[in-house]
Amino acid sequence: MLLSTHSQTVDDNYVLVASLDNVRNLSNILKAITFKDHAIFNATPNGLKVTVEDSKCLQANAFIQAEIFQEFTIKEDSVGFQINLTVLLDCLTIFGGSTVAGVTTALRMCYNGYGYPLTLFLEEGGVVTVCKINTQEPEEPIDFEFCSTNVTNKVILQSESLKEAFSELDMTSEVLQITMSPSQPYFRLSTFGNSGNAHYDYPKDSDMMELFQCSKTQTNRMSLLKPSTKALALSCKVSVRTDSRGFLSLQYLVRNDDGQICFVEYYCCPDEEAEEEY
């Protein structure tokens, strides 16, 4: 195999080796959380978790289980590093972003531990590209302390309907407001832009609504959540939950090229000006 010949010298000292027959099963899901340059990678025997944070109030996590990989070998309980995500994505898509029928790019990712670069071997049609990307000491991701026991409202929607709404959102609005309530309007997305206020209401018995469990009326405002729209575009289902502190959790169920399931999750702090009239 082309890739293993190249990576033999690296293999002896690796702490993490992961292989994919189709690199898109990694690159697509990483695109869904690329709103900042840096990402924290954490690998455990369960798989890979990639975290991106913005100003301590927005956090995105992508989970790719070990089973998704054709090979996933880890020599420690936990392996972590920080890396430039845009550089990583440019490397993962080195053979081009678009898909050609029947052509896939294979990936072998190797990491030798603290202080070493992340080494990628990518192969398409007999051509091999080797990338070495510098890594840094990983920062500790913020723990938003969102736990299921504290959940006040929970809604699971089919992504189709949300995608439509998001594509029509008034982008001149600085914030997106999500209202969840046991009574009318049940689930509402609102924007406040130059042309006025717009509301998208989803009745609790709509076809698109798979689950509706709301115990109290809560409103969350966040900056237009543009980062999460990439995750939405890839997903088939979304769960929206708020907890008693007003924190918001969005969980996206994503199916990759081979139909396997991965998760992307976004956590948002409540907006400081939540008290404002709307």
Partner: protein, 283 residues
């Protein structure tokens, strides 16, 4: 000085249009040399063009049904014009479905290449669309700047990998670095490499094959060269990207000559068009 030419075959017209489109993607202005047998689009490696040179040669008989040329003088039977290829592209775009396209050197308020396209209509009367493209006539004393470049004394000559693959890789590499190293050996191996503080990326192409240059003189030293030894040149990645972006059709032959640390010489051969592009090394 006189020049008149006519294209009536739609295949020739499309082909000529594609060539002009390619040239327009490579440079804003260039020299158009018209001789009795050929047309040449030339860019000579001056500071203004960032040191790249281009030589594109078309055999006129393969494109034009009629071709009449009277050069500046009987002993110098050619015309040399400075043109903006994008203007030619634009004129050819409107001529896409033409029954016939006539090109003439004219003098309006300034020297022009006039394109007249006869377009089909529903009635029996044709519609003619005319473009007057201003050009500059290059005086004879400057012609020496636009001679055919000689093939450099290269260290390695190699066939290029599929241009589409090269373009995809170079496009991504451009996001990561301003400079790229292109290296190749006589074993048919070519590598494209970039290296910065943040990342290093190398793409390995194998089994490309090396063109068999003739036994005539200068390339003789390649016989004694270690086939594994790489000749390499570091270039401005945008120049290579620009070259790759312009290619619309797959050439029948594509090769690269590398003069170690000096220059890369790219040669694309199509049935009736040849394109040579020189990219100098950067420090």
């Amino acid at each position: 000085m006189k020049f008149r030419a006519k294209i009536i075959d739609v295949g020739c017209l499309n082909h000529f249009t594609r060539v002009v489109n390619t040239i327009s993607k490579l440079t804003k202005t260039c020299i158009l040399r018209l001789t009795p047998g050929n047309l040449y689009f030339v860019l000579s490696g001056k500071i203004a063009s960032g040191g790249v040179s281009m030589w594109c040669e078309l055999s006129q008989a393969n494109f034009f049904d009629e071709y009449q040329l009277e050069g500046v003088a009987p002993e110098a039977n050619e015309i040399c014009l400075e043109v903006t290829p994008e203007n030619l592209s634009r004129a050819l775009r409107t001529a896409q479905n033409a029954k016939c396209v006539k090109i003439k050197l004219t003098k309006k308020h300034c020297p022009c290449l006039t394109f007249a396209a006869e377009l089909p209509t529903l009635s029996s009367v044709s519609r003619v669309v005319t473009h007057d493209i201003p050009v500059d006539v290059i005086p004879r004393r400057l012609w020496h700047d636009f001679k055919e470049p000689s093939v450099p004394d290269f260290d390695v000559s190699i066939y290029l990998p599929p241009l589409k693959t090269m373009k995809n890789v170079v496009d991504r590499m451009k996001n990561l670095s301003n400079f790229l190293v292109i290296e190749a050996n006589l074993n048919g191996e070519m590598n494209l490499k970039i290296e910065t503080d943040l990342v290093s990326v190398t793409t390995h192409f194998k089994d490309l094959g090396n063109p068999p240059w003739g036994d005539d003189g200068s390339q003789g030293r390649s016989h004694s060269r270690d086939p594994e030894l790489m000749a390499q040149t570091r270039v401005d990645i945008r120049k290579l990207q620009q070259f790759l972006m312009g290619q619309q059709v797959n050439p029948s032959k594509a090769m690269c000559n590398i003069v170690h640390k000096r220059i890369i010489h790219l040669i694309l051969l199509h049935e009736d068009v040849s394109l040579q592009y020189f990219i100098p090394a950067v420090a």
